[in-house]
């Protein structure tokens, strides 16, 4: 209980992390209550597909019926950004979850046992790291066919190597500590030493990086969607909404800001989502750092 209070106080000390948490709570609420905030019209089969009024290419400004207006193809922007929050969480959390798991398993095998195992795993990560991440992701999506799932697969494949590296480095450092030698001295097995003694001391940098990375993953997913490699047309996804607005960033000669809502609103959602995770990453650093004396 005192630990919990201490943690809360640590976070409260840093106002930026409080802002981060508030922003993310806001998005969590949106994602959970999406069906109430933006009800799916009747007869619409898949709630993730944005309802459309017609096929007109020109975006329509915000009105009572469409609070944020409509974008190219008369897709409702409000519906799109609300349900797009769910897609964003899905992509970010699932990809980070898988990536961190793979990273921890391979990284700790490589770091703890060293030798040939280390050599093999690290050379494989080198191969993956040799390609520019976004280009490799694009190539993978192009091969398996564009969809939200293939975006997730592609982002997993390009991001696990850096996690394996990071955790290997920390494990290399921790396994030399005396208390690891001491736990070998009391007769603990390798598996037990890795799980109970090495990982709890080596995992914090990885968790902090993961929380910072969720934003970056969502950003990459949006970039892939923007390039037309993401979800199918009409799927609620922020990247796709900005992609619809591609031709309407600048309005006609007399009124360049005429279609501002088409690109700005989905853009702001992406911006705040990524900002929220980045600020939360700092908060995690305060929570997780075991070296902070608990007074």
């Amino acid at each position: 209980m005192t630990d919990w209070k201490f943690t809360v106080r640590q976070i409260a000390k840093n106002p930026l992390s409080v802002v981060g948490i508030i922003i993310l709570m806001f998005f969590v609420v949106i994602a959970i209550f999406a069906p109430l905030i933006a009800p799916t019209p009747e007869g619409h089969l898949n709630p993730y597909m944005i309802p459309r009024e017609g096929y007109s290419a020109t975006p329509q400004p915000p009105s009572e019926e469409h609070i944020f207006g409509t974008t190219e193809g008369e897709y409702d922007i409000f519906y799109g950004v609300i349900w797009g929050t769910r897609s964003a969480f899905q992509v970010g959390l699932v990809v980070i979850g898988i990536v961190v798991t793979i990273g921890i398993i391979l990284g700790s095998l490589a770091g703890y046992f060293g030798g040939v195992i280390d050599e093999v795993i690290m050379r494989i990560t080198d191969i993956f790291l040799a390609f520019p991440a976004l280009i490799l992701a694009m190539a993978i999506v192009a091969v398996i066919g564009p969809s939200l799932r293939s975006v997730m697969i592609a982002l997993t494949i390009v991001s696990w190597p850096s996690y394996a590296r990071l955790i290997r480095g920390d494990i290399l450092q921790v396994r030399e500590e005396d208390y690891i030698e001491a736990s070998r001295g009391i007769g603990a097995s390798s598996g037990r030493i890795i799980i109970r003694h090495v990982l709890p001391n080596a995992i914090y940098p990885t968790l902090i990086m993961a929380s910072l990375d969720i934003g970056a993953i969502v950003l990459s997913a949006a970039a892939l969607s923007f390039l037309g490699l993401g979800a199918p047309e009409g799927y609620a996804d922020w990247g796709q909404l900005t992609s619809f607005a591609r031709n309407w960033i600048v309005g006609p000669y007399q009124n360049p800001l005429k279609y501002w809502y088409a690109v700005t609103i989905p853009g702001l959602f992406i911006l705040f989502f990524v900002l929220g995770w980045n600020l939360l990453g700092d908060a995690f650093r305060d929570i997780f750092d075991p070296k902070l004396a608990r007074r």
């Binding site: 500590e177 005396d178 001295g185 009391i186 007769g187 603990a188």
Partner: protein, 385 residues
Amino acid sequence: MKDLIRIKDLSVRFHTYEGIVHAIDDLELDIRQGETLGIVGETGSGKTMTALTILRLIPYPGKIESGSIIFLDTDRRREFDLLKLSEDKMRAIRGNKISMVFQEPGAALNPVYTIGDQISEVYLLHRRNELGHRAKQRVDNLLSDGGGPVASVKRPFWRWQRRLYNKISQESNPFEPRFLSHLPLFRRLLWRLKNEANLLAVDMLKDVEIPDAARVAIHYPHELSGGMKQRAVIAMALACSPDLLIADEPTTSLDVTIQAQMLELFRRIKTDRGASVLFITHNLGVASEVCDRVSVMYAGRNCEVASVKELFLHPSHPYTKALFDAVPMPGKELQTIPGELADPLNPPPGCRFHPRCPNAMPVCQQEKPKLKEISKDHMVTCHLF
């Protein structure tokens, strides 16, 4: 008295890029039951390596080249060679029959677990049967207690727990509890085991004279002082009443008053528990305080093994004599041993000490001296005798 450990012709070498490091060379040593044997020597003379070799925990490029370490298992009255055991059997010995106290008490404790957790881990590793038995008795008490309406609801659950703990107390690695302990949430069902281990850990902390042991047990290592941490580390090593306790410079990082308390503790351990202690130190004064016998090591070999009295009254090996001369005294200029510690990569042929020895003879350069008994309880490795 019988020998608990007999080390014969032990050689440990490190195969590095620069060449072969002769860390331990033809070492012969025996540790008797219930005695404290001190190993004294300079930094790099192979003291710690000897300790790690007994536990078979030599770091990576190191290899045991030859020799044997015969260990007498007091429970089964059987002798076996530690160097020939499988890794699994060796794990069952570490922390159970032979345990080690490390030099730096702060570094030997894991910063993310409480003191109690770390000591109870030893029990959870080596005393599962006993813990299962104790947990079963607790559940038995609950069952026979009768109790109110709540108890009658919980009864079937208690019966199931009783069966589980009974299995743990009888079999070496029963399937059901092992399966449960691998499932993240279900492992909590075995909480009584952990609870019993924690109780034993608190008892152990009381035994090493930690005041208010129950409160200290829930503290993290960084919340304790150096002396307390060292006591906790000793408690961890003593948890399963080992036959041999290896203490690797346990007093070096402590200040003098705490050192004195630690030495007192080690003396008490020996008399109360009848355990043998292998006490590694580079401090001759400390060695004379706690040890029954002392072995002086130089460059991976032992020069002289004798009872404390013999060694301090009649040092015979030239290196031991030089060591005693090098002890700083007020009003006397500090005597040093000429030359440098033998290079372990390229040890001098014959006796390792001959380049620095004032009594060197031609034979010292060619032949390795053997351990010879010159009087009762006094053995020397030198061609002079």
